[in-house]
Each structure stands twice: as C-alpha cells, then as structure tokens.
C-alpha cells in the first residue's frame, strides 16, 4: 500500500458544544475520489476547514503526506462553491490559472521552465483557449468553474478539496466540470475530497463515500453506504434510498436540496 495522501486519525470536531463528528478515521490514497455527503450542518465543510487548518480539531489529528496540517498548503488544490467574484477585480480568465501556479509566491517570480507549457496544457484541458482573455466577471457559472478546476490542478497538488463545486450549475455543466476534475486529478495521481449534497453527477467517479450525519458517519463504497439500511441506522430514523436509472435519491433525510446553503462559509 502506498503512503496515504491524507490521514485523519480519531478526529473529533465540536462547534459550540455540538459534536459534528467524532472518532473519524480516514486514510485517503493517491488517485482516490471520495465524495463527502450529508445533510446541511453535518460538518462537511467543517471537515475541509479542519484539513486546511482553519478549524482546530477537538481531538485527534489530521496529516497531509505524513505532516500535521497547518494553515493551507501548496500541496492542496481547492475548488470553491460557485459564486461570482465579490470584487470588481479586473482580471482575465487566464489570470486565474496563473494565480493557481504562482499566486502564493511572494516577491518576483521567475517562471519555472515548464510553467508556460503547463499553463497551455491546462488551458487545453479545460477547453479555455477561446475564453482566456475574457474578464472573469463575464464568464458564465460553468465557464468560471472550469477555470477554477484548472486553477486547482495546475500546480499538480497531491490533494484536491472541492466544496460544492457543482452547485448553481445546470446538469450538463455539472457533468462536464465533474468529469474534468476527475480526469485532471487522476492524471497526476491526486486524491480528491469532493463535498456535495448530490452524489449523482460524480457517482461514476466515486471510489468511496464518507457520509456524515447526526454526529456520526459511515465510510465505504457507494454500494455499501448508500443503502436504506445503512443510512437509516446512521440517521436513527427511516430513510429510503431509491435507485432509479443509475441515479440515487435519498428520501427522508431532511436535506433540502433545492435550497442548499452552507452556512459555515456564509
């Protein structure tokens, strides 16, 4: 077995006296695509924040390539939820890719020999050649998310964290962005933690599912976790998992799909 990219050991997270999850153990291998599912407020985004060192664990520890996590890392690529950039910043789409490559470097930056090639490669991968000189404020949701995936993978990170990157996209855009993320991460052997309230757009790519609910969790393949028995046990109430034409719908979990917000980031 190769060295895990991420190890979460006996982790517990408590916010305002409420335990979001405890006893969480998770080893993520290179190339693994893990979907993080669960109702609103179950601590999905908080898990990402803990991995980024922005939220201290109440117990346990998280290691990134053997080293305890600190505040962010160059080894991490991050795809945020879609929203229009708050600022009226005068940047072009291609500047997003460059910031993914050198945005964390202080002082003068001399491009590494392969930088330009890497930029061109990612630009082609996200089909962004035609859009590269557009102001980011003029990109559509799907276009912006494609560039954000490019930004996350361009520096060849070991771990990609994605926080609801498909929300607010229509179905065909969801499929395109998810497929892009999966393809680009596997190209460099990166592992992906993909937080989502709807597993369907990524179902074919998912190796394992981490399902958080009611202070507890289940980890396993989609077939193991996404069943009526497992989720009913996890929630402590009757849950119906319906499979229809390759799609999975979880009924009775009070996960309000239509009005999904992640309060933690608001």
């Amino acid at each position: 077995m190769t060295k895990p990219v991420l190890s979460v050991v006996d982790a517990k997270l408590e916010v305002d006296g409420r335990v979001l999850w405890e006893g969480l153990n998770l080893e993520v291998q290179p190339n693994e695509f893990i979907a993080v599912l669960g109702a609103n407020g179950s601590g999905k985004t908080s898990l990402l924040k803990a991995i980024l060192g922005q939220m201290p664990l109440s117990a346990g520890e998280i290691r990134l390539i053997g080293k305890k996590v600190s505040r962010g890392s160059r080894k991490i690529g991050y795809v945020p939820q879609h929203r229009q950039p708050e600022t009226t910043m005068p940047l072009r789409a291609k500047d997003l890719l460059w910031l993914g490559l050198n945005g964390d470097r202080f002082g003068f930056w001399f491009p590494k020999p392969g930088a330009k090639k890497q930029f061109e490669h990612i630009l082609d991968a996200i089909d962004g050649r035609r859009l590269q000189n557009r102001p980011i404020s003029e990109l559509s949701g799907g276009e912006l998310q494609r560039f954000r995936v490019g930004q996350a993978v361009i520096d060849e990170p070991d771990l990609i964290l994605a926080d609801e990157p498909l929300s607010a996209l229509d179905y065909s855009q969801q499929a395109a962005v998810a497929e892009l993320l999966s393809r680009e991460s596997r190209e460099h052997g990166a592992a992906v933690l993909f937080v989502t309230h709807d597993v369907n757009p990524v179902l074919s790519m998912v190796d394992r599912v981490l399902y958080l609910a009611g202070g507890s969790f289940r980890i396993g393949t989609p077939d193991e976790v996404l069943t009526s028995e497992t989720l009913s046990e996890l929630y402590g109430t009757a849950i119906d998992v319906v499979r229809n034409q390759g799609r999975i719908v979880v009924l009775g979990a009070h996960d309000d799909h239509a009005h999904h917000h992640d309060e933690e980031w608001a």
């Binding site: 980024l52 600190s70 600022t87 005068p90 910031l99 945005g103």
Partner: protein
C-alpha cells in the same frame, strides 16, 4: 487673472522639491489605488484620511512634525478599520463612525492653533508650500518602503483579494496580508495629504486606478496606466498651479477627473 506664466523660469526651482514629492506620490497612489479598487475600499480611504488630518492638526498645534502626525493618525485608522472591518459591510459603518470623529478632532486642534492660517487650510485642501529637505527625505523614504513592500506582496495580495477562500487553502496568509495592506494604505494616505489635502486624497488614491480599470483588464497594464494617470495629474497640477494664484489641489483633482471621463469615453467606444 488666473494664469501668469511670465516669470516661470524663476519660479520653477522653488517647486523642485514639490515636484519630486509629486512624482513619488503619484507612483505610490497609482499602485496602492489598484488594490483600493480591487478590495473595494474607496470609502475606507476617505475615513483614514480624516484621521490622518486629525493627527496632522494635533501635531501642528503642538508644534511637532506634521508628516509624522498624519502618519500616526493614518496608521491608527487603517488598523482599526482593518482589524474590525474585515468584511465590506462592517468596514463601511466603522469608517463612517471614525470619519466625523477624526474631522472634529482636527477642527478642534486647528481652531486652537495660533499660527499661519494657510497651514490650517492646507491640511484639508492641499498646499503648494515649498517642501523642505527633511520633509522631502521623510516622504521619499515612506514612498520607497510602501512601493517595495507592495511589489513584494503583489501576487499573493491579488490572489487574496480575488478569492480569500482559495488563496488561504493554498497557504497564502490572507489575514496578515490584509493588515499589511492597511498599513501601506495608511502610509500612502498620510503622504498624499501633504500635497492634495485630506478632503481630496481620493483623487490620488482612487481616481487613477478607477480610470485604468475602465480601459484595460490586464494585471500588468492596469498598474502602469494607473501610475501614468496619477503622474499626469500631480505633476500637471503642480506646474499649472505655479502659474496661478490658486492652490494645487483643484488642478490635480480636475486633471484626475478629466482622465477618468476620457477613460469612460474610451470604454464606451470600445464596447459599442
């Protein structure tokens, strides 16, 4: 008569120091302004300048160094706004609370001041008094520090301004950068007050960059344009004011505004 350029050659050497300061300020204002626009902080700039004015007025009253006083006032305001108002909405209300307080404090100090009246007025609306050598050195040193630090943090600051969430995931120290930028902004405001006055600081720290983003989207071209516009406004303003009985600030603000109008016009033609 507003203009009289008959003995211009004799006058010019008298303002050499002012011109040097003007060039330094234009470079600082043009560069800092880019991030004032990016980070949506125009109103905060105004708030900082009122506290900077208060600091300058108090030191004028006490007989101290006015530049030093305005730097202290600026830094206090910048740090208060930076620490308490990390979000735009909070920032605006904190700025609005600080602003009248600073202005009131400044007016109090000035009304107690017994010295030359033009000194008083100058702090609010600008002055073309000959900048003496110690002052020149002070302003140039501050400018050099601001520009050097800003260039050093330029890229991470851009990343953090665009998307703090992604930048911090990549290890960019978003909070520290924000505080550092507020300090740089405070220093830039304090310097600008020496030339255009507290009420007109925005014409140096906001208008040039706001004009530049109208006509370009390139992160390389915008700072250059912004500095260029600021240079034209400040140096042009000083040279025009020399041949007239009016203070420097109306010229600087008018040129600055005219550039903005032209840029909007260019943008409109391009998008048609």
């Amino acid at each position: 008569m507003i203009f009289d350029f008959s003995n211009y050659e004799q006058l010019l050497p008298l303002v050499t120091n002012s011109l040097i300061v003007g060039v330094a300020l234009a470079i600082v204002g043009g560069l800092v302004g880019v991030f004032v626009i990016n980070r949506d902080m125009s109103f905060a700039v105004h708030g900082i300048s009122e506290l900077s004015f208060a600091g300058a007025s108090v030191t004028l009253l006490l007989g101290g160094n006015v530049v030093f006083g305005s730097v202290i006032g600026s830094l206090i305001a910048a740090l208060v706004i930076g620490v308490l108002g990390s979000r735009a909405r909070e920032r605006n209300s904190i700025t609005a609370v600080l602003m009248p307080f600073g202005l009131g404090l400044g007016i109090l100090a000035l009304s107690l001041y017994q010295g030359r009246a033009s000194n008083k007025f100058g702090l609010l609306t600008g002055q073309i008094v000959a900048v003496d050598d110690p002052q020149l050195i002070g302003i140039l040193s501050i400018s050099a520090i601001v520009v050097a630090v800003l260039l050093f943090i330029w890229r991470p600051l851009t990343f953090a301004s665009l998307d703090a969430e992604v930048a911090s995931a990549r290890g960019v120290p978003v909070r520290s950068l924000s505080v550092i930028f507020m300090v740089l902004l405070g220093l830039a405001v304090a310097e600008s007050i020496q030339v255009v006055g507290a009420l007109l600081v925005l014409s140096l720290l906001v208008t040039p960059a706001a004009s530049a983003v109208r006509v370009s989207r390139s992160p390389f071209v915008i700072p250059l344009l912004s500095v260029g516009f600021a240079l034209v406004a400040v140096v042009g303003g000083i040279l025009l004011a020399l041949g007239s009985s009016l203070p420097i600030s109306p010229y600087v603000t008018t040129i600055s505004f005219a550039i903005y109008l032209v840029c909007r016009g260019v943008e409109w033609v391009k998008n048609r």
